[in-house]
């Protein structure tokens, strides 16, 4: 790659540009594996829910994500796979600006949600993270009742019928809230297991139930995109299977992006798979069946076959 322009790491700042006029090039001598643009140009039917263009992320001097451009189709499951340190979680966190919370991180490039730039000044981050929700590796319910865990978001977000605003307006929101909690728990396939103990502390649930509770909590604010960072890696096979079934069902309504270390999980549950390899590069992005049957890149083949990584 030519070094037409080098951008220095910008620690302590969180600058963003709208990408195309300021492309970032890889610094010379870093290319380890062969990469080709056509391997990452993924053609799909339907609309792109999110679009990243020339996305670079630095943690201090560390260039963690290198010029990643990738479109995420709506109402489908996109899996991000790759060895540790390949940038897949970094990329995921760019999609709802969670990297903003890391002081040393700086993000360059563009990410659009429904065509609107999320890295622009004045964007409402609370609103963004409501639309683009996140579920983490370890279940992290609040130390509150099951009901409160689910109702927390809607109350906080001030929904006109159920939230703080409704309370200030003196509306009785208990029925609406009850319905919302029930709907979220049903969507997360947890309702049948917890409906008779809604006031119990959520920390008393099993790990798998806690994770589904976190998914329900994410769903309660009516997101459009759900980001999942290894959501089943701390769970046993039965709980994992339930989460996987749930992800499959969620994709009928939501856009799901999932980081997983479990290759078979990616193969089982995703519609398309993006493979990141060491150095923060997206190397190949295609239909999941193509990635797992006939990947174009030898390095991707070696990685998914377990020959390195």
């Amino acid at each position: 790659m030519s070094d037409s322009q080098q951008t220095q790491p910008q620690s302590q700042t969180r600058t963003k540009t709208t990408g195309s006029d300021q492309p970032l090039e890889t610094t010379s001598g870093e290319t380890v594996e062969e990469t080709r643009d056509e391997w990452t140009e993924y053609n799909f039917d339907g609309e792109a829910k999110m679009v990243a263009e020339d996305l670079d992320v630095y943690y201090g001097d560390d260039h963690a994500l290198k010029s990643v451009s990738m479109e995420i189709p709506e109402q489908s499951v996109t899996a991000l796979i790759g060895p540790s340190g390949c940038g897949k979680s970094t990329y995921l966190r760019c999609l709802n600006r969670m990297n903003d919370r890391i002081n040393a991180a700086s993000v360059d490039g563009s990410v659009q949600l429904d065509g609107n730039e999320i890295y622009q000044d004045g964007i409402n981050l609370v609103e963004l993270r409501k639309r683009v929700g996140m579920v983490f590796q370890s279940p992290n319910p609040f130390p509150k009742s099951i009901r409160d865990n689910i109702a927390y978001g809607p109350r906080k977000h001030g929904d006109i019928n159920t939230g703080l605003l409704a309370r200030l307006l003196g509306r009785d929101d208990s029925e609406a809230e009850r319905e919302l909690v029930e709907r979220a728990l049903k969507q997360a396939a947890l309702w049948d297991e917890v409906h008779d103990r809604m006031d119990d502390n959520a920390l008393g649930l099993s790990g798998g139930q806690q994770q589904r509770l976190c998914i329900a909590r994410c769903l309660s604010v009516d997101p459009e995109v759900i980001l999942m960072d290894e959501p089943a890696s701390a769970l046993d096979p039965i709980a994992t299977a339930k989460i996987e079934d749930l992800i499959h069902d969620l994709a009928e309504e939501y856009t799901v992006v999932i980081v997983t270390h479990n290759m078979q999980q990616a193969a089982r549950i995703s519609d398309q798979t993006a493979v990141f390899l060491t150095g923060g590069k997206l190397v190949e992005y295609d239909d999941t069946d193509r990635i797992f049957e006939n990947p174009q890149s030898q390095r991707v083949e070696d990685y998914i076959s377990g020959k390195f990584g």
């Binding site: 290759m263 049957e293 006939n294 991707v300 998914i304 076959s305």
Partner: protein, 224 residues
């Protein structure tokens, strides 16, 4: 390299499939020679040896299933195990056809229809199978396509042979009242037609092997 043991299992599978193909190729050769020379002992040998081929087939099929279940191969590894799994079935069928040929030898105690060159048909079918297995051994996509291309030639040889026999049947005059001669002739004709059909099928299985091998090498299902 991680997964050394898995890689070794794949190498072993390839060696085992090739060794089974050697075994099957040998059976087919011997069946054809037995047919040519009316060698009943060799024919019986081929028939009795089929159990060993079947056992080998089941063992290797189990090996493939075990690899699928325990190693969950993907990409090139997946295509290799899937292709091998299918190729084993074709090899087992070829061995069954060799048994058929051996049985025809036992049934026919004399040579008839000398004008039909069965050995040319048999040689071509054997050569196709050999080449398909060579393609599998050395990952040769061009050889796969060449095997598939030769199938037309084999089919036309078979068709000409069949027509020749049927024409001969029509033209032959059997002495009035000689029922025994008529029975024998019908026997010979149908047997020869079956032999030709089975050799044609050997070629079809060779094409199947080539098709699966091409899929294995290039993920190209064009011949499948």
């Amino acid at each position: 390299m991680p997964r050394d043991e898995f890689q070794q299992s794949l190498a072993n599978l390839r060696a085992e499939v090739l060794s089974m193909s050697d075994l099957v190729g040998d059976r087919l050769d011997r069946a054809l020679t037995a047919l040519e020379t009316i060698d009943e002992t060799a024919a019986r040998d081929v028939i009795e040896g089929d159990d060993a081929v079947d056992r080998r087939y089941l063992e290797l099929e189990a090996t493939c299933i075990q690899l699928f279940a325990q190693q969950q191969p993907v990409a090139g590894d997946l295509r290799f195990v899937a292709a091998s799994f299918k190729i084993l079935t074709d090899l087992e069928r070829v061995a069954d056809l060799a048994v058929n040929l051996a049985q025809y030898t036992l049934e026919a105690d004399r040579k008839r229809f000398e004008q039909v060159d069965l050995s040319a048909i048999g040689d071509l079918a054997c050569e196709m199978l050999d080449d398909a297995m060579t393609a599998y051994r050395i990952d040769d996509a061009a050889l796969c396509r060449s095997v598939a291309a030769r199938d037309d030639e084999l089919d036309s040889l078979c068709q000409r042979a069949s027509e020749r026999v049927v024409r001969d049947l029509i033209e032959r005059e059997v002495a009035d009242g000689d029922g025994w001669a008529v029975e024998q002739l019908l026997d010979d004709v149908s047997r020869l037609l079956l032999i030709v059909r089975d050799l044609e099928r050997v070629g079809d299985h060779a094409v199947n092997v080539a098709a699966r091998t091409l899929y294995m090498i290039e993920s190209d299902p064009e011949l499948v």
